[in-house]
C-alpha cells in the first residue's frame, strides 16, 4: 500500500466519524438541513477519494448511498430508521475494511456485496414506490401540507336530526387531517352553513370531489389559507375560534392572520437552519485556522527532546547551587520558567479533543438500546476536553464497556421505568473535564443502581470474601472489579465483548489513573475516572533504598509514617503486617526483598499507598522529597520487571526507578 493510500485511509476514517455524527443528528432531527448536507457532502468526498486511490468497492457503495441521500435532499424520500441503519451498517463495514492491514483485503470487490445489494434494493424500492405513486394519482403533490378554509352552505333546508348525506360528508372530512368545524343554525333549527378549517395533505381537487354527489344541494367555497399545518399554532387556533364565534365573519381577517403566521413560521424555520449552518461553519472555520496534521512520531520526538531539556535544566540548577555561582541564579530561574512553559505547550500539542470518542458512544447507545428495546438518551458534556491520543485509544474500550453495562444492567425498560415513577427515557451521561493535572471522565446513568446485596452474595459464593467480612459501601462496589465476579452471570447478557470490569480497572491503573464508583439503588450509578494528563511526567515522591533512588507516584500516597527498622524485622520479608498508626498494615520492604540487610538503617519510612480502597505500605529507608519525574521506559530488556514503570534522571545525573505500587503488590503476592 503506498503512502497516498495510507493517507486516504486515515482521512477516510476521520470522515467516517463525521458521517456517523451527521447520521445520528439526522436521525434525531430528520428535517434538519445542515446534517443532511453534511452527510451528503461527506459521502461524496469518500466516493471521489475512494475511486481515485483504487478502492472501487468503497466508491461504488458510497455512490449508491449518495444517490439515496440525494433523493432525501430533493424531498422524494423521508429520512427513515431503515435508511439510517442501512447507511450506518454499510459504513461500519467500510471502516472494518479500512482497518485491514492488507490492501488486498480492503479492495477485494465482493466484501461489500451485501451492503451494495441492500442499498440497491432499497433504492429500487424507493424508485418503484415513487413510480407507482405517480402512476396512481398524477399531479399528486406529495408532502404539501396546506391549510384550507371551507364553507359549505346548504341550498335546501337541512336540520340536524335529518340523515342528510351532507352532514355525514362534513363529518367525514375529519378523517382527512387536522380540522376545526363550526355549524351555524338559523332560528328554526335549520343549518345555514358549516365553516371548516382543515389542514391536510389531500389536494384541493380531492376535497372538492367529496361534495360531487350533493353539488346541487349546497354551495361550496374552498380557499387555501397557507402552506403547512397552521392548526398547530396556538395563535391561529384562537383566531379560528374567534372567527367561528364572531357575528360578522370576515374570511379576509382569517386569511391575513394565516399568511402572517405562516410567514413567521417559515422564517423561524429558516433561522433555525441558518443557526445550524453557522454552527457547522464556525466549527470548520476554527479547524481550518488551527489544525495541521503532524505525525505522532514527530511530536513524540519533540516531547523527548524537551524532557531532556528539563533534565539538563535541573542539572544546571544543581551545579549553580552546589558551586554557589550567583551569576547563574537569574538565568537558571528564567530557564526553569521557560522549560516549564515549553513542557506544558509541547504536551498540549499531542492532545486531541475527545469528540471523536463521543460519536462512537452515541452509536453504541443507539444500537444497543434499540436492540434491547430500551429508550435511552445519551448526553455528553465537555467533549472539547483534550486528551492524549494514545490515552483516548486506550480508554475507548473501557468506557464502551461502562456504557454497555449501563445499558445492559443500569437503565431499565420503559415499563419498569414508568412503574418506578421515572421518565420513560433513561439517560446516560458522559462528562469530561480537566482539573489540575488530571482528566476526569464521569460515566453515569439514572438506572437502577448496583444491588449491593447481590454483589455481596455472589462474592461470598465465589469465595472472594468471607461471609462475616464487614465491608464499606465502596469496598462492595469495588468487588465488581474482581475478575471472578465480572464474568459469567453478572455481566454477560451481551456476549462476545471480551472486556470485563477487571480489564477496565486494569487499563485505568496502567494509565496511573483511578476509578471511583458511586451508586444509589433505584437512582443510578456513576463511574468517576481520573487520569493523569501526561503519561510521561509524574509527580512523585523521591525515596532512597540502600543506594538506589525510587519514585513513588504521589497520586496513590495516603500517608507516611516513620517507624524503627526493627519493627519490620521478621522472618518473612514481604508483606508482613506491621503496626502503623495503630492499625495493622501489610508492608512490602524494598530493602528486605531486593537489597542487603547487613547494615540496616535505624528507622524506616512506611509509605501508605491506596488503590481501590485497599491500603498497603511500602517500606523505604528514607524520603528525599518531591520530584517531577520525566518517565523514561526501561526498554524491552526490562519488560518482565513490570512493577517498575520506568526510570528517570535526577538533577545530578543519577537515576531513579519509578515504582508502580499496584503492580508491586501483585508481584509480591505472586512471590509469596
Amino acid at each position: 500500500m503506498d503512502n497516498n493510500q495510507k493517507r486516504f485511509i486515515e482521512d477516510t476514517l476521520d470522515l467516517l466519524n463525521e458521517l456517523d455524527e451527521g447520521l445520528l443528528q439526522l436521525e434525531s432531527n430528520p428535517l434538519a438541513i445542515a446534517p443532511l448536507e453534511q452527510v451528503f457532502r461527506t459521502m461524496h468526498t469518500i466516493k471521489g477519494a475512494a475511486s481515485m486511490f483504487g478502492f472501487e468497492n468503497i466508491s461504488r457503495l458510497a455512490h449508491l448511498l449518495e444517490t439515496l441521500f440525494d433523493k432525501v435532499r430533493q424531498g422524494h424520500l423521508p429520512v427513515s430508521d431503515n435508511l439510517i441503519s442501512l447507511t450506518l451498517q454499510a459504513f461500519d463495514r467500510v471502516r472494518d475494511l479500512l482497518g485491514k492491514k492488507n490492501k488486498g483485503d480492503t479492495t477485494q470487490s465482493d466484501n461489500l456485496d451485501i451492503h451494495l445489494a441492500l442499498a440497491s434494493q432499497f433504492l429500487k424500492d424507493v424508485e418503484y414506490a415513487a413510480a407507482t405513486a405517480i402512476g396512481l394519482s398524477t399531479g399528486y403533490n406529495k408532502n404539501s401540507l396546506a391549510t384550507y378554509l371551507l364553507q359549505v352552505k346548504p341550498t335546501i333546508g337541512i336540520s340536524e336530526q335529518e340523515n342528510h348525506p351532507l352532514i355525514f360528508i362534513v363529518k367525514d372530512l375529519e378523517a382527512l387531517g387536522t380540522i376545526k368545524t363550526h355549524q351555524y343554525k338559523d332560528d328554526e333549527g335549520y343549518i345555514t352553513d358549516w365553516s371548516v378549517v382543515i389542514a391536510t395533505s389531500i389536494p384541493r381537487s380531492e376535497i372538492e370531489s367529496y361534495f360531487i354527489f350533493v353539488e346541487h344541494e349546497c354551495e361550496i367555497l374552498l380557499e387555501q389559507l397557507a402552506d403547512g399545518n397552521l392548526l398547530q399554532e396556538v395563535e391561529f387556533k384562537k383566531a379560528v375560534d374567534d372567527y367561528h364565534q364572531g357575528s360578522a365573519r370576515n374570511p379576509e381577517e382569517l386569511k391575513i392572520c394565516a399568511s402572517w403566521l405562516s410567514e413567521k413560521s417559515t422564517s423561524a424555520r429558516k433561522q433555525n437552519t441558518v443557526v445550524e449552518d453557522a454552527g457547522i461553519q464556525r466549527k470548520s472555520k476554527t479547524q481550518d485556522d488551527t489544525v495541521i496534521k503532524v505525525s505522532k512520531h514527530k511530536i513524540d520526538d519533540l516531547i523527548n527532546w524537551i524532557s531532556e531539556l528539563i533534565i539538563l535544566q535541573a542539572q544546571l540548577l544543581n551545579i549553580a547551587q552546589r558551586d554557589r555561582i550567583a551569576a547563574l541564579d537569574e538565568i537558571t530561574e528564567r530557564m526553569e520558567t521557560v522549560t516549564n512553559h515549553l513542557r506544558d505547550t509541547s504536551l498540549e500539542i499531542g492532545l486531541v479533543p475527545i469528540e471523536a470518542l463521543v460519536t462512537k458512544f452515541k452509536r453504541l447507545v443507539r444500537d444497543l438500546s434499540k436492540q434491547q428495546g430500551k429508550k435511552i438518551n445519551f448526553l455528553s458534556k465537555g467533549t472539547e476536553t483534550e486528551m492524549d491520543k494514545d490515552v483516548i485509544e486506550m480508554m475507548t474500550a473501557p468506557i464502551m464497556h461502562l456504557i454497555r453495562n449501563a445499558i445492559d444492567h443500569g437503565v431499565e425498560t420503559p415499563e419498569e421505568r414508568s412503574l418506578a415513577g421515572k421518565p420513560e427515557y433513561g439517560t446516560i451521561k458522559l462528562k469530561a473535564y480537566r482539573s489540575n493535572t488530571f482528566i476526569n471522565l464521569v460515566v453515569s446513568d439514572d438506572g437502577k443502581g448496583i444491588d449491593t446485596r447481590k454483589v455481596l452474595q455472589k462474592a461470598t459464593e465465589r469465595g472472594v470474601i468471607k461471609p462475616d467480612d464487614e465491608l464499606t459501601e465502596q469496598e462492595i462496589f469495588n468487588l465488581i472489579f474482581c475478575s471472578s465476579l465480572s464474568t459469567a452471570e453478572v455481566i454477560s447478557d451481551v456476549s462476545g465483548r471480551g472486556v470485563g470490569m477487571d480489564v477496565v480497572n486494569q487499563r485505568i491503573t496502567e494509565l496511573r489513573g483511578s476509578i471511583l464508583i458511586s451508586s444509589t439503588e433505584g437512582k443510578g450509578t456513576s463511574f468517576h475516572i481520573k487520569l493523569p494528563l501526561s503519561r510521561s511526567i509524574i509527580d512523585g515522591l523521591l525515596v532512597l533504598v540502600d543506594t538506589t533512588h525510587y519514585v513513588i507516584p504521589l497520586n496513590v500516597i495516603e500517608r507516611i509514617d516513620r517507624i524503627p527498622y526493627t519493627s519490620l524485622d521478621r522472618e518473612n520479608h514481604v508483606c508482613v503486617d506491621v503496626l502503623v498508626n495503630e492499625e495493622l498494615l501489610p508492608v512490602f520492604s524494598l530493602r528486605k526483598k531486593f537489597y542487603s540487610t547487613a547494615i540496616p538503617p535505624k528507622t524506616t519510612d512506611i509509605i501508605s499507598v491506596g488503590f481501590n480502597g485497599v491500603t498497603k505500605g511500602i517500606a523505604v529507608d528514607s524520603i528525599q522529597g518531591k520530584i517531577q519525574a520525566v518517565l523514561k521506559p526501561l526498554g524491552e530488556h526490562y519488560q518482565q520487571v513490570d512493577f517498575i514503570s520506568g526510570g528517570t534522571i535526577l538533577g545530578d545525573g543519577t537515576m531513579a526507578l519509578v515504582l508502580d505500587p499496584q503492580r508491586l503488590f501483585k508481584e509480591s503476592i505472586f512471590v509469596n
Binding site: L634, G635, H637, Y638, Q640, V641, F643, G647, I649, M655
Partner: protein, 158 residues
C-alpha cells in the same frame, strides 16, 4: 567480484584474556563506566540502567552473557553502546560492559574462518568467525545473537 578485496572494520575488546571483535556498524560509541542503577528482580547479567546524556539504556554484562565467569570492576572497564536489531525492523540501544576496549582494525574477509562445526554448535554460538593471526586468536561475535531480547523472557523466569 573477488572476495579478497572485501574487508570490514571491527572493534576489538578483551574479556579476560580472550580477544573479541564486533563490526563497527553495530557500535555507536564507547563510554567510560559511570554510575549504574541496578533494577531489582532481574538476572545477574542485567547490570542495571545507565544515563547516556539523558537517555536511559540497559546495561548488560558481556562476560555473563557469553557464559564466562564474572570479572572484577576496574578502571579499564568500558561500555560499548550497541545497536541491536529487533523484530519488525526496530533497533534498540544497549550498553554492554567489556573489560578493555582496544582498537578498530580492518579485517579482510579472507582472514575470517568459520567456527568449528561441532554438531549444532554453529547454530547456537554467537561466534560467527575466527581470525587467527599467527596464534593470536580474535573471535568475531554477532551482537544480535548475544543481546537479543527474544530470550530474556525465558531467562527471566526464575
Amino acid at each position: 567480484m573477488e572476495t579478497a578485496s572485501v574487508s570490514g572494520a571491527y572493534l576489538t575488546f578483551l574479556l579476560g584474556d580472550e580477544k573479541f571483535a564486533v563490526h563497527v556498524d553495530n557500535v555507536q560509541e564507547v563510554v567510560e563506566l559511570n554510575q549504574i542503577t541496578k533494577v531489582p528482580n532481574t538476572p545477574d547479567y542485567m547490570l542495571g540502567i545507565i544515563n547516556l546524556r539523558g537517555r536511559v539504556l540497559p546495561l548488560l554484562d558481556t562476560r555473563l552473557k557469553l557464559g564466562l565467569p564474572a570479572g572484577e570492576r576496574t578502571s579499564k572497564n568500558r561500555i560499548l553502546i550497541l545497536e541491536i536489531a529487533e523484530a519488525d525492523e526496530k533497533t534498540i540501544q544497549i550498553g554492554a560492559i567489556v573489560d578493555v576496549a582496544r582498537e578498530v582494525v580492518e579485517i579482510n574477509m579472507q582472514q575470517i574462518q568459520k567456527p568449528a562445526d561441532i554438531d549444532s554448535y554453529r547454530h547456537s554460538t554467537p561466534v560467527t568467525g575466527i581470525v587467527n593471526n599467527q596464534g593470536d586468536i580474535t573471535m568475531i561475535i554477532d551482537i544480535n545473537k548475544v543481546f537479543s531480547t527474544a530470550d530474556i523472557s525465558i531467562v527471566n523466569e526464575f
